[in-house]
């Protein structure tokens, strides 16, 4: 893969990755949010595949396929199954309205860019230049986790954080050791399963997955 083609493909994949995170903030309907999350998984797999093609590493290529299967296939399927049992599938008014959330996302982009300065200067390369994208998605994921009221939206926020960290890992050092990557993927999968199960139980007990109902434990 030639160098200019590598840079262009990498930038396109990173741009799509970031755009998916912004779309999760922009749209209200939970079904659309899950679909956008699946697209982000696709973009993440594309990032890893481009790096694999440039470094000519079969291990990274296999990892790209694994990421595609997990984050663009299995996790969205689990989320859709959890959504199928829910009633009205819209997001109840988020704590911060959509316009303010989007402007907040712009501020978070600036913060991520400022924080990742030392990271880029340590090893300047096309891949490291795109690290602010990963950090931005992590910050946007935390923002979604904190400002959304429905259980499923919080799960999507947590998964956005994980996607962002995985992207940062691959953009900085072409990943962490294989054992760790496997363990992390398993942990994420189990965490989502646990959260889905808890959400189902919450819906059975409280009648709806609006987390405003969970107010009994406080000091």
């Amino acid at each position: 893969m030639s160098d200019t083609a590598y840079v262009q493909l990498l930038d396109l994949a990173c741009g799509a990755f970031l755009l998916a995170a912004v779309l999760v903030l922009w749209r209200r309907e939970l079904a659309v949010i899950v679909r956008v999350f699946a697209l982000q998984g696709l973009a993440l797999a594309a990032i890893v595949a481009v790096i694999a093609g440039h470094d000519r590493s079969a291990e990274l290529g296999a990892l790209a396929c694994g990421i595609l299967a997990l984050r663009a296939g299995l996790l969205p399927w689990l989320l859709r199954r959890a959504l199928a049992g829910a009633g009205p599938a819209k997001e109840t008014r988020p704590l911060v309205n959509v316009a303010a959330s989007l402007l907040g996302a712009a501020v978070l982009t600036m913060i991520a860019y400022a924080v990742s300065g030392p990271l880029v200067t340590l090893a300047p390369s096309p891949a490291t230049h795109a690290v602010p994208v990963g950090l931005t998605v992590v910050l946007i994921g935390f923002f979604v986790l904190v400002t959304r009221r429905r259980a499923l939206s919080q799960v999507v926020g947590f998964l956005l954080v994980d996607n962002g960290i995985t992207a940062t890992a691959f953009l900085t050092t072409a990943g962490v050791p294989l054992l760790v990557e496997l363990g992390v993927s398993l942990d994420v999968l189990f965490a989502v399963l646990v959260l889905q199960l808890l959400a189902t139980r919450i819906r059975d007990t409280f009648g709806d997955t609006d987390l405003d109902e969970l107010q009994e434990l406080h000091d």
Binding site: T4, Q8, C14, V22, A106, M110, P126, A130, V133
Partner: protein, 318 residues
């Protein structure tokens, strides 16, 4: 590049002529496409020109109680749009007025037109005029930053905010068009232009219900030649915006050198690109419903964030 070359002067003059003459035709084509898709016969491409002719023959009439602002607004609107049509990189990038074709100057001129019309709406003292003016300014407050930031994102890599320079650099480096910066900026600009020119889903140009109007509400009190000027100006603004959108991202066909012979293919390319964009816009409108007014800031905030992301991407994505 600058300087009074014959090709440059001829190019600038032809640009103005094309925009003035072709804008109502563009509007007619868009209305015709929409009509055909909706199963109607349509009034034909020349209908806007026929309407303008009818309006200019009418008696000039002004409501009682209006001031110079009301009288000056249509003229100001047409004047600012003519200046932008003359300086923008539509047919040639070596126009003699190239130094005026700065990003901030062009957007400021277009905003001046918007503000003039809004003030005229307020000047009439009617309820609908005030309502239209306030809605227009709400939208403009979100759209102007988006326009500035989106085109600024393109200018970062060029190192200059001159529109002609941006177009020339894209001609020299075609690979830039599919970078995230260009794609994000294109989407942001498209949404901003839809809002600025009063097309669906922000404003319905064919509505006759006053409470849903934004642009039409401001010009309710205009009649006769004044109304003709206002209609011509809004058609020209649409043509100018679509021309900017086309040439900033797909500039092939534009004349760059001092040769007069390159102007003819440039005219054909410009007319083709703008017509294509207009027809696509009109076809898309058939499938969209107008957004409720309080949802419009959500859409515009989203396009602003996309423009900001384009700027951020231009700084750190290679």
């Amino acid at each position: 590049m600058s300087g009074w070359t014959p090709a440059g002067v001829l190019g600038a003059g032809l640009q103005v002529a094309m925009v003035v003459a072709g804008a109502p035709l563009l509007l007619g084509a868009m209305r015709q496409v929409r009509a055909r898709l909706e199963g109607r016969a349509g009034a034909g491409i020349g209908q806007p020109w026929r309407d303008l002719r009818k309006l200019t023959r009418k008696e000039p009439i002004r409501p009682r109680g209006t001031t110079e602002v009301f009288r000056a607004a249509p003229v100001l609107l047409v004047a600012t749009t003519l200046v932008v049509a003359a300086v923008g990189p539509f047919l040639t990038t070596s126009s003699p007025l190239d130094r005026v074709a700065d990003l901030f100057a062009v957007v400021a001129l277009l905003t001046l037109g918007t503000v003039a019309l809004a003030l005229a709406g307020l000047d009439t003292g009617t309820a609908f005029g005030g309502m239209g003016a306030s809605r227009e300014m709400t939208i403009a407050a979100l759209v102007e930053p988006t326009l500035l930031v989106a085109i600024f994102a393109l200018s970062v890599r060029v190192g200059s905010t001159n529109l002609g320079a941006i177009v020339t650099s894209t001609l020299h480096d075609p690979g830039r068009v599919i970078s995230p910066v260009s794609l994000l900026a294109a989407v942001a600009l498209l949404v901003a232009i839809t809002a600025e020119t009063g097309r669906l889903p922000v404003d319905n140009p064919a509505t006759h219900l006053e409470l849903t109007m934004v642009h039409e509400a401001m010009v309710l009190e205009y009649a006769g030649p004044d109304l003709a000027l206002v209609e011509l100006a809004s058609a020209m603004r649409l043509a100018v915006f679509l021309g900017l959108l086309a040439n900033l991202f797909v500039p092939w066909g534009i004349a760059t050198g001092a040769g007069v012979a390159a102007l003819l293919p440039a005219m054909v390319a410009f007319a083709g690109k703008v017509t294509l964009l207009g027809v696509a816009l009109a076809a898309g409108e058939v499938f969209l419903a107008k957004l409720r007014l309080f949802r419009v800031p959500e859409l515009l905030a989203g396009s602003f964030v996309l423009a900001l992301l384009a700027v951020a991407a231009s700084f750190f994505l290679a």
